[in-house]
């Protein structure tokens, strides 16, 4: 028998009151005055009777009256009596989408969400079936469709909020699939979430099946949110001379009233190295910059931590502190030119380690440890040899060829033709006019994407007075204004070859004197070498391959053991296991190469996705209207259990009237009995 207000059952404790009063009164009763004790004898155990109730019927009446009153206030509800056929028509398929993203940790959202789901479970009739789907960034059914409340409650109790972000669309897709496959005459979708704005595309209209009852239970609550979070960390090299040092800055955001003197700590390898305080304005942010600290020789886990607040999950930002990676480059040019070398030398992400050689002096040993070979004027390095250079590229190395005076297709061995994207024409001389410009530039391509940024410079300003057009149609990244190909890309084995139709020494063009030259060279070098920046910190939900972290070590093993911040171990790479590690916990992951126990682990820092820290929410009605077709029924206040009239509902809940009447009658009977007992009992003077 369900109760509408079960908390009132605590009032049953009041039954003990008459008993306590009875016992207490008896213990404290005034002594009986008597004229003389002359003929009275002391009774050895005169008070054993106190353990017994003087009038058990009176006590029983009082206890029953209290119990009836308590039950009346608890509002019992009796189930409906119905025929089997009618019950089958009312059979429901219920899918509950329970948000367990990080934002559900705020205040008491998770408790409210669980209570809401529990009430849905409680409202199930014996023929109903329910599927509990937990979702954050992804959605998964934690139970099969079942009407077993114990199973559903056990599944519910096993859930907890994660560090993941919210993506409602995936959960709705699961619900659509579950409800579509059900033959129940009535279908109900219940969404229990804090309706975080970033969790759902407001323009998304994923309609549910016609006739589906939709209930959106917003558990975000009305309580004001006060949260402080470290949103990001920036690491800069300290440019002052001396040992390598870095300066760590953290961006701290505050949601809620202004807070003064918030403590921020910088911890490296688990030890606190610096501490700063910062004043945070209302709903604003501030930067915290820590003093320069020596760069550790190896990668270490670090984090910036704020003083704890009610939502501690975002108080720390984890990152990996490590020296700038090195990209070894072999530059082969006939005439030594400072432009390319200096353009690359400035870079620190990665730091280019440049070795210059002439085509005649370059040897096979120069390829050792290189990631990239630059042929600055296109002359083939015969000292290296065709096979070695081809193998270098095939094995994953990069080759960047800039065509120039020395470039002669005949000078390239036939076996090395695979390194040339196509036929290279004779040089086009545009020196008589204003020169050629780059007329078409694929700025969406990763090799040129950086040039579209605010500091990318303007490649269109560069004048090309002489160039060699590349006769190819595949992999074109840029063309000159006459339509001839200026920059191409093609893959050779696991390596990559970029071919540029003009020189890099400033003779054929004025490109080295353009602002865009430096980022262009660095980006082309990184791209040709297949370089990927090792991320210092990733958002939860990101996937990372070991090869993305450290190419030099990626070859150590194909299988990697990933150790999560919680200590959970997973295997990444190799056959039968995921190729990438999916970050699901905030903290620092360790990746250890399988079979190389002595190798240093790779570190990956994972933090709460920034989108999950945007706590704005949307109205439940918007989701309801988006999911509802014209034939669907929407209910934002709760689950409509069953179609029933108000009279039926009132009749099922009217038990409290009878209990109240019974309590009244019991109290009247108790009063009569008590009066009678007082009259009959001999009373002291």
């Amino acid at each position: 028998m369900p109760l509408l207000a079960p908390l009132f059952l605590l009032g049953l404790a009041a039954i003990a009151v008459p008993l306590l009063v009875h016992l207490v009164q008896r213990e404290k009763r005034d002594p009986v005055a008597f004229p003389s004790l002359m003929f009275l004898e002391r009774t050895k155990a005169p008070f054993t009777a106190r353990r017994h109730l003087r009038d058990p019927w009176l006590f029983l009446l009082r206890a029953l009256a209290v119990a009836a009153l308590v039950l009346a206030f608890a509002r019992p509800v009796f189930g409906r009596r119905e025929t089997a056929g009618a019950a089958d028509e009312r059979r429901r398929e219920v899918v509950v989408l329970l948000d367990r993203s990080f934002s559900m940790r705020i205040n008491r959202r998770w408790d409210r969400a669980r209570a809401s789901v529990d009430s849905v479970i409680q409202s199930l009739s014996p023929r109903d079936r329910m599927t509990l789907v937990a979702f954050d960034r992804r959605a998964a059914a934690v139970t099969a469709a079942t009407g077993d409340r114990a199973v559903l409650r056990a599944a519910l109790s096993s859930l907890a909020p994660t560090d993941e972000s919210t993506r409602l669309a995936s959960a709705i897709a699961v619900a659509q699939q579950r409800l579509a496959s059900s033959d129940a005459p009535r279908k109900v979708l219940v969404v229990v979430s804090d309706l975080q704005r970033t969790g759902w595309d407001l323009s998304d209209e994923s309609h549910m099946q016609a006739g589906t009852d939709i209930a959106v239970l917003d558990v975000s609550g009305d309580a004001a949110i006060a949260d402080r979070a470290v949103r990001s960390v920036a690491i800069q090299r300290d440019q002052r001379p001396g040992p390598a040092q870095v300066i760590v800055s953290a961006r701290v955001a505050n949601v809620g009233p202004a807070v003064r003197a918030v403590t921020a700590r910088l911890e490296v390898a688990g030890r606190m190295v610096e501490e700063r305080t910062v004043d945070l304005p209302r709903d604003g942010g501030a930067m915290v910059t820590f003093p320069a600290l020596p760069m550790p020789p190896n990668a270490v886990a670090a984090r910036v931590v704020l003083a704890s607040d009610p939502l501690p999950g975002d108080d720390a930002f984890h990152f990996v502190l490590q020296r700038a990676p090195v990209l070894p480059v072999l530059v082969i040019e006939t005439r030594a030119s400072p432009f390319l070398s200096r353009a690359l030398a400035i870079g620190d992400a990665p730091r280019f380690e440049i070795t210059g050689r002439s085509p005649a002096r370059a040897g096979a040993a120069d390829l050792a440890g290189r990631r990239l070979v630059v042929l600055a004027d296109g002359a083939f390095p015969t000292g290296i040899g065709t096979a070695r250079l081809l193998r270098f590229v095939t094995d994953g190395g990069g080759l960047f060829v800039a065509l120039g005076d020395e470039t002669s297709p005949r000078a390239w061995p036939a076996a090395a033709r695979a390194l040339i994207p196509g036929r290279i024409t004779v040089a086009t001389d545009r020196i008589d006019g204003t020169g050629a410009v780059l007329g078409e530039l694929d700025q969406q391509h990763p090799a040129l994407a950086q040039l579209s940024g605010p500091f990318g410079g303007d490649l269109a300003a560069a004048r090309f007075f002489k160039y060699r057009a590349i006769d190819t149609t595949a992999g074109v990244l840029a063309r000159f204004d006459d339509g001839s190909v200026a920059l191409t890309e093609h893959a050779v084995g696991r390596g990559r070859v970029l071919t540029f139709g003009s020189s890099l020494d400033g003779v054929w063009n004025d490109l080295p004197r353009q602002a865009a030259f430096l980022p262009l060279m660095q980006q082309l070098a990184r791209y040709a070498a297949g370089w990927r920046d090792a991320p210092r910190a990733l958002g939860i939900g990101a996937s990372v391959r070991p090869s993305d972290l450290a190419d030099a070590q990626a070859s150590l093993s194909e299988r990697w053991i990933a150790i999560a911040p919680s200590g959970a171990r997973t295997t990444v790479g190799g056959s039968g296991t995921p190729a990438a590690l999916e970050l699901t916990e905030a903290g620092v992951y360790e990746l250890r190469p399988g079979g190389s126990p002595g190798a240093r682990p790779l570190l990956v820092a994972a933090n709460i996705a920034p989108s999950e820290l945007e706590l704005a929410s949307f109205d439940a009605l918007r989701l309801t209207s988006a999911l509802t077709t014209s034939a669907s029924a929407a209910d934002t206040g709760g689950v409509r259990a069953e179609e029933e009239t108000l009279v039926d509902r009132e009749a099922r809940q009217s038990t409290w009237w009878y209990l109240l009447i019974a309590a009244t009658l019991l109290l009247v009977a108790e009063s009569v009995l008590a009066r009678r007992a007082v009259t009959l009992a001999p009373a002291p003077e």
């Binding site: 009763r29 002594p31 009986v32 005055a33 008597f34 004229p35 003389s36 004790l37 002359m38 003929f39 009275l40 004898e41 002391r42 009774t43 155990a45 005169p46 008070f47 054993t48 009777a49 106190r50 003087r54 009992a681 001999p682 009373a683 002291p684 003077e685």
Partner: protein, 305 residues
């Protein structure tokens, strides 16, 4: 014949003591009881306190012929009247015990209230007999003394109204002092609950009886004191000493009743044999019945002596 006399009166007048006590005016109650009682005595010419024969005197017209001594007339054929000393002035003193135990009453009138009614009634009756009435209240010592006088009835009634229960109870000391202060022979009515051994009571009364006084002892008890009807185990507190005693009534009732009855039997035995008239009354008994019984026993005692 004397033992049977008066019953029609008691049957007709059943005055509930509790009802009378609620009236509050002792004079009114006493007058009402006595007048009602006397109005039923026309068939009982032998009742009265005044029994001390004084002398014969010749009949003169106007005398009440009921006082003619017919035995003398039978022997001498002359009409003489018998005169009694008490008809003139007898000291009638009520000795009222006002110790704390007299304040007890279980469900009805308290013993002291009942004793006040009895004292007032007897005083009024005595005054109606033209006796001098007095009052002594005492607990363990004398509290208030109103010497016998023909004009002291209002004082007696007023003192009775003022009397309250309190203090311990002991008969010997106050009765001895009364005996010393009352050289003239008279009638003393002791109204008490007599929570002392019968022998002690007898010894306490000895100064009075030894001085030639007539003593009437009215032993007032509440019905609960005899039947001990309590049910719950409780601590019982002595009203006079304050002593406390845990008692389970169910276990001690039988022995208590037996001890009480033995005590009452000893009282009857010890006090009924001398110049003492002992009457046991319960507070539930009608006043006129008590008055009748006391007078009846008094008369029986007198004639027996």
């Amino acid at each position: 014949m004397r033992r049977d006399a008066g019953h029609p009166v008691s049957e007709r007048l059943t005055m509930d003591p509790a009802t009378l006590a609620r009236i509050g005016n002792l004079e009114l109650v006493a007058r009402w009881v006595v007048e009602g009682f006397v109005s039923g005595l026309h068939r009982s010419p032998h009742l009265g306190f005044s029994t001390d024969f004084a002398e014969h005197r010749p009949y003169v017209p106007g005398d009440d012929i009921r006082h003619v001594d017919w035995r003398v007339f039978a022997r001498t054929e002359r009409t003489y009247l018998k005169t009694y000393e008490a008809d003139t002035n007898t000291n009638f003193t009520v000795l009222l015990d006002v110790s704390a135990s007299m304040g007890y009453g279980h469900g009805g009138i308290a013993k002291l209230a009942y004793a006040k009614l009895v004292a007032a009634t007897l005083s009024w009756f005595s005054r109606r007999q033209r006796d001098r009435v007095g009052l002594v209240t005492f607990a363990d010592d004398l509290r208030e003394i109103i010497p016998p006088s023909a004009r002291h009835l209002p004082n007696v009634l007023h003192a009775l109204e003022r009397a309250t229960a309190g203090g311990g109870g002991a008969l010997a000391r106050p009765l001895a002092r009364i005996a010393q202060s009352q050289p003239r022979r008279g009638i003393f009515v002791l109204i008490s609950d007599l929570y002392e051994p019968a022998a002690d009571v007898q010894r306490a009364l000895a100064p009075l009886t030894g001085a030639g006084h007539d003593v009437i002892v009215i032993h007032v008890l509440d019905a609960a004191e005899r039947a001990f009807p309590f049910q719950d185990a409780a601590t019982f507190r002595d009203l006079e000493s304050g002593e406390r005693l845990p008692v389970s009534p169910g276990k001690v009732r039988e022995r208590y009743v037996a001890a009480m009855e033995a005590h009452l039997g000893a009282m009857r035995a010890k006090l009924g044999g001398g110049r003492v008239d002992y009457s046991l009354v319960e507070t539930s008994q009608p006043l006129d019945r008590v008055l009748f019984d006391v007078l009846l026993r008094r008369e029986f005692l007198r004639t027996a002596v």
